[in-house]
Structure formats: structure tokens, C-alpha cells
Subunit: 342 residues, 2 copies
DNA sequence: ACCGGCTGAACAATCGATTTCTCAGGAACT
DNA sequence: AGTTCCTGAGAAATCGATTGTTCAGCCGGT
């Protein structure tokens, strides 16, 4: 397009016959500056004609801000986590921030990547959505250099956390199975030690208890992957009797659960009903279209971003947030039905 | 952790009793500088003790480089695209670059997001993996400000492109169906105008022709989404006879294809065999475990990153690359079988 | 003694934008 | 006529690191 190098502020100012100082203020719409309307227009015209684009590096060297937020994520192989990422990314973009993406595991494992990511002046803040394993290693490094917000993390952190209403989602799922007549309902949990899974478990236990089924509590620990779901089913199949209903903590694991039942020749929902937490496009294409409780994952990411941005821009006190709006919602498909046993 | 603000280079130099100039050279291992071993050690010791971290912004203001690469992606709702992203991100990280993530559609639609992203000094280069719709709008803006590499893009661009071997993948898929005895094989294409889909179509046509089935060419245009796959099946079902084999251009669309057959009560592979291009974790959990041709998507992303980095660091001439290694590979599952018709 | 050359390191300019002062000139007021 | 005040704008410092140039001392050679 244009011939040479990009014009600098000085070029614009010279061309417009003013000092860089005035040019800067005019182009940034500094409300405290007074210039003649004519001068203002001349500067703006020249800037436009020359295709002036501010040099973000020079700008953030002087000011303290960089206009960049770091997104440290784990498990991008799961659409669930990608939804959170997409929500956060979009919210940052809307607020005028660019986003730096990093993989939590890589960052935790490679010190040079970590220091490149956290190099001074690179980021205004970080959103950390990590597996519970890497978190400790990363958290201190991050928070000692910039403000941070955690997503779906553990309690008791010295950093604000944003989370969805896990307990309510699990209550809704369990309630649904009970309404269909199920009395033997197991919970296929996430990995041992995950508080996200624990919160869902609490909702499941609550609901059973409220229906006087407290004695039927049945928790199988699995994980977040499809393979973990399959393994959990194999474990169930070794028992003399199978529960009639399953609440699975995660939609990806539930895929593995359904495949395992298919491979074992068990009918869903004929012999066992399955409901999961988190909705995604692939659920309706699984071996049995999977009934789920939809949680607002993109909203989760966006809320984390908004909270962080408020903090960065000094607008609000930082604190934990639980997202209750939109509320968890039942998405009925074909994997749940009336129990055939009593 | 430490009390005050982070130390600057000057702080380190002062503490070590040297000038910032020497400190900088020592800490960056400048080979042209000569210092006493004792001085070198003193500077390095002080830097370590004070927890000195270089200020990336100041550094890139002086030097030309920023150590950041932009990843402009589309369709993060598809695991296929996320694989490419993950590959590119990891390769950049390995090479010491941080990655800025942006959504192609958002960027194309919001001028202020675009200029924040492309602000001078923010990026050393961009990898663009966009739908064919937004590409034109973005491409000029991007290439006029930084080096770029396209992923799976159209031919004839003024920018180097990296792509997988689409034709070979489609040949492999088509060949597989022919070996199973199929003679009526349709190709469920991507969106009209997509050259990725066109290249796969060429491989499909090639293979039919080589088996004297050139007259049986049957292309149905769909899209990349599951819904598009479903729609394509509905179109097929309106015909008097159905092909016995289907090559679907994309794994997500193929999910919709399988669901449509299930809903229509047609057996896969009993009445129709389905094979798709691209492999992903969810394929084995679909209503019928889906046979696919695996393409190295992470390698695709990583290769694009490596190529861009070579360009940025002035190591290689920029040119188009087609990835042939690892070669497309057949992943047998349950959606293909011998034809029941002749 | 004097000069050339090497060693080890400091000086100062630079990158581009922001921002705090400062200041010239004219209007308004006494 | 002199003082004050406001308008409109410029000068210069600053952010932190990099790098081309310069320079003080010391050695050996003549």
C-alpha cells in the first residue's frame, strides 16, 4: 500500500505543523487539552491520510498498560474448555484487549516459556483455567507479577475465582432421574481431588437426601476424559447389579460412558439412563443422543474476563463470583427414560 | 513476594557497580563484549538476587522484535480447527514466542479490534486460518503490517500457504470404499467455494476415474457443520436411490450425516457406508463409530508456525508448503463395510 | 621517555508515545 | 497604561533496554 515505513507520531505532527505533544493529545481525545477546532481537524486529517497507527509498544512503555490479557488454559482437547476460552477471548476483545493464549501444562513445565509469557510489560492480567495439578506451580508466578482471576478453581485461593453453579446443575440432573422413577442413581465423578467434581457431588447427594434416598449414594471416581468414562462403566459392570441411573460429571466422560454401554450391549435408556453436565454440539450425535444440563460456559469465560478487566481498570473490588444467571437448564434428549426396574 | 516494584536494568547495574550498557550485554550474552570474568559473575549474581526480569516492552521498543505471533482463527467450535490452533500455539511456544489469539470473524467485523490486534509493535507475524469468507477482508490489513502465513487457504494468494494433502486423503477414503465393493459413492462437500473441499473433491474424482467409475461422480454440497451434514442427507433421501458409500469432507459434518441416517432408520454400514476426513476423539463415540482418514492437523499448525518463524528470523525464503509427512492414514471403525448391493 | 595497541567499561543516542511543565500572545479588566 | 487571565501550544523529561562510539588506563616495544 504505502511506500515506506509506517509513520510515527512525530511524522504526523511535523506534517500537520504541530508538536508531537499536541498531536498525541488530539489523537487520544484528551479532554483536558484545548486546541482550535481547525488544528484538531488538521491533525486528525493528516493522521488519517498518512495511515497513522499508534505504536502499541511505545505507548505501553510510557503508560503502565499494555492492553493485553493472558489466557492460561488447560485441556483444549475438550470442547468444554474451548467454550470457556471462547467466552473469555470474546469478552476481552469487546473490551479492547488482545489476548495471549498459553497452555497451562506447557507453561508449568517450561520455565523459559513461563518467563517469556510473564515478561514485564507484556500483560495487564491473567485468567487462569487450569487443571488442579498445575495450578499451584503457576499461581504464585502469575500473581506475583500481574492481577489474576481463576476459573472453576478450588476454594481458599488468595485470588478471586469465577465458577458456574455446579451444585445446582447436579441437583437438576439428579432430580430429573428421580422424577423418571429412578431410585438407584450413581454419580460418575471427575478426578479425585477436583473440587468442581466435589461440588457437583454435593448437589447430587443433597438431592438424594431430600428424596430420602441418602442411603443410595453411590460415587465412582473417573476423570474428565472419554476413556475415564469408559473405565468407570467397566468398574460398574463388575458389580452384581447396576444402578438404573447415572449422573456423569462431564460430557466428554459421558461419551465414553455411552460407548462402553453400547459395547457391553446394554440399552440406554432401556437398562440404564444417563445424564451429564455441560452441553455441547456433539451430544446429539453420540451413540444415544445425550440428555444434559446446560451450563453457561461462555458466560463463565466472559465473566472472568469482565471481572479481571474491572480489576485492571480499578473499577471494582476483586471477589469470588458464582454465575447463577442464566441458570442451569435441562436439555432433554434420548439417554434418559423411565426406569424399568422398581 | 518481594516488597517493591520490579528491578530495572539500571537497578541491577547500579547494584553491581557497573553501567547499564555492560549489564545489558552481559545478561544477553553479547559475544562482542569483553568483560572480566569477575565482573560478569557479579552482574549475573546481582540480577539473580534481585529477581531481575527484562521488560519485554522496553526491549521490543528498541529492537524490532516483539516475540509475539498472532493466531487468527475461525471456527473454534470445531475440534478440527482447535487441533490446528493447538499445534501452532505449541510450536510458537517452543520457539520462544508467545501467541495472541483472535477470532477471524470478530476481527473482520470490528475495526477497532483489528487495529488493536495489529497495532504496530505488537506482533512479529500472523498465522491466519480463516473461513474463506473473511479472508479477503483481513488479509490485506494483516500483510500490510506484518509477515503472514495462511493455513489451508486458497491458491493464488500473495502469501505463503501451508496445507495438508487433501487430495491424498480423499483418495485414500474413496479407495477404501471401492475396495469394499462400493460403486456408487457420493462426496459430501464442504461449502461451495471452499478450495479445501475442492481439493478433496479432486482426489475423490481421481480415484473414481482410475477405477473407471468416472461416470458415477456424485457431489453434494453441504458445509463444515453437523447441521450441514444432516441437510445433505435429507437431500440424498429425496432421491429414488441412495449411493452405497459416502465420503464426507469433514468429521463434524459427518456427525450430522450419521445422525440423519439414524433418524431416518437407515443402517450404517448396512445400507450405506460412511467415511470422513479428519480424525478426532469424538468419532468413536458417534451413533456408529466413524471410519476416517487421519490428517496431521497439529503438524499443520506447527508447520505454519515454523515457517512463519523462519521468515521472521530471516532464515528461509517464504513459500507454500504441502504437508505429506506423516501421510494421511486410514482409521478403521464401524461405519464402513462391504456393500450389500451390486 | 614516548607512542601504539589492547582491555574493560562508560557515555549517550535511540526506539515512539505520553505527560508535566512552561510559555507566548492577546483579551479583559482596573 | 499596567496587570491579570485565559487560550493554544511547545519543550523536555520519561518509560527501560539496546548499541555504536568513545575513552581511560596499562602493557610492551623502541
Amino acid at each position: 500500500m504505502s511506500a515506506g515505513a509506517r509513520p510515527t507520531l512525530r511524522d504526523v505532527a511535523t506534517q500537520a505543523g504541530v508538536s508531537p505533544a499536541i498531536a498525541s493529545r488530539v489523537l487520544n481525545a484528551d479532554p483536558t487539552v484545548r486546541v482550535r477546532e481547525e488544528t484538531r481537524e488538521r491533525i486528525q486529517g493528516v493522521a488519517k491520510d498518512m495511515g497513522y497507527v499508534p505504536h502499541s509498544v511505545a505507548r505501553s512503555l510510557r503508560g503502565a498498560r499494555t492492553g493485553a490479557i493472558g489466557l492460561v488454559m488447560h485441556g483444549l482437547d475438550s470442547p468444554i474448555n474451548v467454550d470457556v476460552l471462547a467466552g473469555a477471548q470474546a469478552a476481552c476483545a469487546r473490551a479492547g484487549y488482545v489476548t495471549l493464549l498459553a497452555d497451562a501444562e506447557q507453561l508449568a513445565g517450561d520455565h523459559s516459556q513461563l518467563s517469556a509469557f510473564l515478561a514485564r510489560g507484556r500483560l495487564d492480567g491473567v485468567i487462569l483455567h487450569s487443571g488442579y495439578g498445575e495450578e499451584d506451580r503457576l499461581l504464585e508466578a502469575i500473581t506475583s507479577s500481574v492481577p489474576a482471576v481463576l476459573v472453576n478453581s478450588e476454594d481458599g485461593r488468595p485470588v478471586p475465582t469465577v465458577r458456574v453453579d455446579d451444585a445446582a446443575a447436579a441437583r437438576l440432573a439428579t432430580e430429573h432421574l428421580i422424577e423418571l422413577g429412578h431410585r438407584e442413581i450413581a454419580y460418575i465423578a471427575g478426578p479425585e481431588g477436583s473440587q468442581t467434581s466435589d461440588r457437583r457431588e454435593a448437589g447430587y447427594r443433597d438431592t438424594l437426601a431430600r428424596h430420602d434416598l441418602g442411603g443410595a449414594v453411590d460415587v465412582v471416581h473417573a476423570g474428565w476424559s472419554a476413556g475415564a468414562g469408559t473405565t468407570a462403566v467397566h468398574e460398574l459392570l463388575r458389580r452384581p447389579t447396576l444402578p438404573t441411573g447415572l449422573v456423569v460429571a462431564n460430557a466428554v466422560a459421558a461419551s465414553g460412558v455411552l460407548s462402553a454401554f453400547r459395547d457391553a450391549g446394554l440399552a440406554v435408556p432401556g437398562q440404564v439412563s444417563v445424564i451429564t453436565i455441560h452441553d455441547s454440539w456433539f451430544l446429539q450425535h453420540l451413540s444415544v443422543a445425550l440428555t444434559a444440563v446446560r451450563l453457561p460456559l461462555q458466560v463463565l469465560g466472559a465473566t472472568a474476563a469482565d471481572l479481571l478487566i474491572d480489576t485492571i481498570e480499578g473499577r471494582s473490588p476483586v471477589r469470588d463470583v458464582a454465575i447463577t444467571e442464566p441458570a442451569p437448564e435441562l436439555v432433554l434428549r434420548r439417554s434418559t427414560g423411565p426406569t424399568s426396574r422398581r
